[in-house]
Amino acid sequence: MKDLILQVQEVSISFGGLMALGDVSFDLPRGRITALIGPNGAGKTTAINVISGIYRPQKGRVFFKGQSVTGQRPYRLACLGLTRTFQNIQIFQNMTVLENVMVGLHSRTQKEFLSSLFFLPGVRQEEREIERKAWEILDFFNLRNQGPWSAASLSYGDQKRIEMARALASQPDLILLDEPVAGLNMTETLEVAQLIRRICSQGVSVLLVEHDMNLVMKISDQIVVLNFGQKIAEGPPEAIQKDPQVLAAYLGTEV
């Protein structure tokens, strides 16, 4: 029995009569990079939103590290070790790059309102720790110089990296990347590909939603294909590339 970090079982969700996901099931092996692909409107982002707790499915269950997490709130999932990035960047424009990453450490730290208000002992120490760890993460992502800058002033590509850095700061066991290279050029895409590999080599499982087929085929260990809210294929890249249903979904069938 493979070690599975995530199990999606027969998840269905509709929005006002439109079925976004219908009986979708797939598993994510631990410590691997899994890609979720499909044509536009296939339900990939909906699936990510269900897994990350933003939507509650009407049917089906989600298991994370063997525990049922269906419908759990995002902050709860973050504490359990599940985090994500966003298709339309959601970095904190009102903070610096460093502060963005420091927020990533929120789920791993404790000092609450009362201690912070009264600056009780331990607050200063925790803050020092948070800052230290944040710098470390910035180093990993090669963003140390940009630390003190306003996050809003960075380039699109750098902002995407900040989001990844921030998510990684929460020390996740599973990270969901929602179109991490959308809008990036070839060089930037290669850099992100390397980053993802490095993240995975640190023991973090990755679920990747992407349109860039080169990237997907190159770095994924396995691929899940959605179309019209249904899973149509699941397997290693070589198999998916030859799967007739997948080809039909992307290229259309011959008339």
Binding site: A78, F92, N94, T96, E99, F118, S150
Partner: protein, 328 residues
């Protein structure tokens, strides 16, 4: 700008503020001016708390005059009608106001944008009407007189000068605590909540709980100010705690600059004396007030202090940051 750096600057600022507070009455002894400065102090206390809610957490409340009034009326009623000692009454007022803020806050802070605005407005109106109509308890529209002064041992706080020290002591502490909060993990989480609620949640920030907690905290600040107000003026009336005062409070936050604690001082110093200074123009007071508000909002929506700070620093802090995006 590391965390350590910010902290030191703030301590310096606090020290400076403390000195000014201590020395001010030596320069200005006129009870009339002291009275104005005292009201400024009370307003600052409220607005510091309100700014945590609006500027940092990115929420909005057009109902904080209600919490101010609750503090004042609870203190007044408990001391006059039920003979509690003023300090005990103040503590009880804090407790009751806090609980009410919690009860109201939980459903209210689930709302966003104009729904949130109107819910807080509606709450203020309801509380204000109760103040006016429940006259057996509150004295009705003609107000509630005879509230005793605060005292510590034999020292009775019955003059503008003595209340000056008491009021500004509390305000100073309030600012210090707020600075602590803002520069902590919690403060960062609040700003994150403001920046992107969904991203903050995905990183482990309990967004709903935090919103309610900061709402309750800001209500407590207002309640404390209300109690001090009651024991200072010894007479309170519902007119002080209506929605127009709530609007004034938010104006102070906006003018000072949302998300800047020092900015709130500017905001309260600027707005509070306006009706007094414009007393000659009592007729035209509202016109001036409205014009100022509109001008600042049209041309300096990030607030005066923040705008100046940005210009001075030269660093491009994006204007359409989540401070202003209708992400409320």
């Amino acid at each position: 700008m590391t965390w350590g750096g910010i902290k030191n600057k703030s301590y310096l600022g606090l020290l400076f503020l403390g000195l000014i507070i201590l020395l001010f009455p030596l320069a200005i002894n006129n009870p009339y001016y002291l009275n104005v400065v005292n009201i400024i102090g009370l307003n600052t206390l409220i607005v510091v708390g309100l700014n945590l809610l609006i500027g940092y957490a990115g929420q909005i409340s057009l109902g904080h005059a209600a919490f101010y009034g609750l503090g004042a009326y609870l203190s007044g009623i408990l001391t006059v009608s039920y003979h509690f000692s003023p300090w005990t009454a103040m503590g009880l007022a804090l407790l009751v106001t806090g609980l009410l803020a919690l009860l109201i806050g939980i459903p209210t802070l689930k709302l966003h944008g104009h729904y949130l605005v109107m819910a807080t407005l509606g709450f203020n109106i309801i509380v204000n009407i109760v103040m006016i109509q429940w006259d057996q308890v509150t004295g009705g529209p003609s107000g509630f007189p005879g509230i005793p002064n605060l005292k510590i041992g034999t020292l009775v706080f019955d003059s503008d000068q003595k209340m000056y020290y008491l009021i500004w002591f509390f305000t100073f502490v309030g600012i210090a605590l707020a600075l602590n909060l803002v520069q902590s993990r919690v403060g960062r989480a609040l700003r994150a909540l403001h920046g992107s609620e969904v991203a903050a949640a995905s990183l482990g920030v309990k967004t709903e709980a935090y919103k309610v907690k900061v709402f309750v905290l800001s209500a407590l600040y207002a309640s404390l100010a209300g109690s001090l107000y009651a024991h200072y003026l010894t007479f309170i009336s519902p007119k002080t705690f209506d929605i127009f005062f709530s609007i004034e409070l938010v104006t102070m936050v906006i003018v000072g600059g949302m998300g800047s604690i020092w900015g709130t001082l500017f905001g309260t110093f600027f707005i509070t004396p306006l009706p007094v200074m414009l007393h000659f123009f009592d007729e035209y007071k509202d016109i001036f007030y409205g014009l100022i508000l509109v001008f600042i909002l049209i041309f300096l929506p990030e607030g005066v202090v923040v705008a100046l700070r940005n210009r001075y620093r030269g660093r491009k802090r994006n204007l359409s940051s989540a401070d202003l995006q209708g992400e409320l």
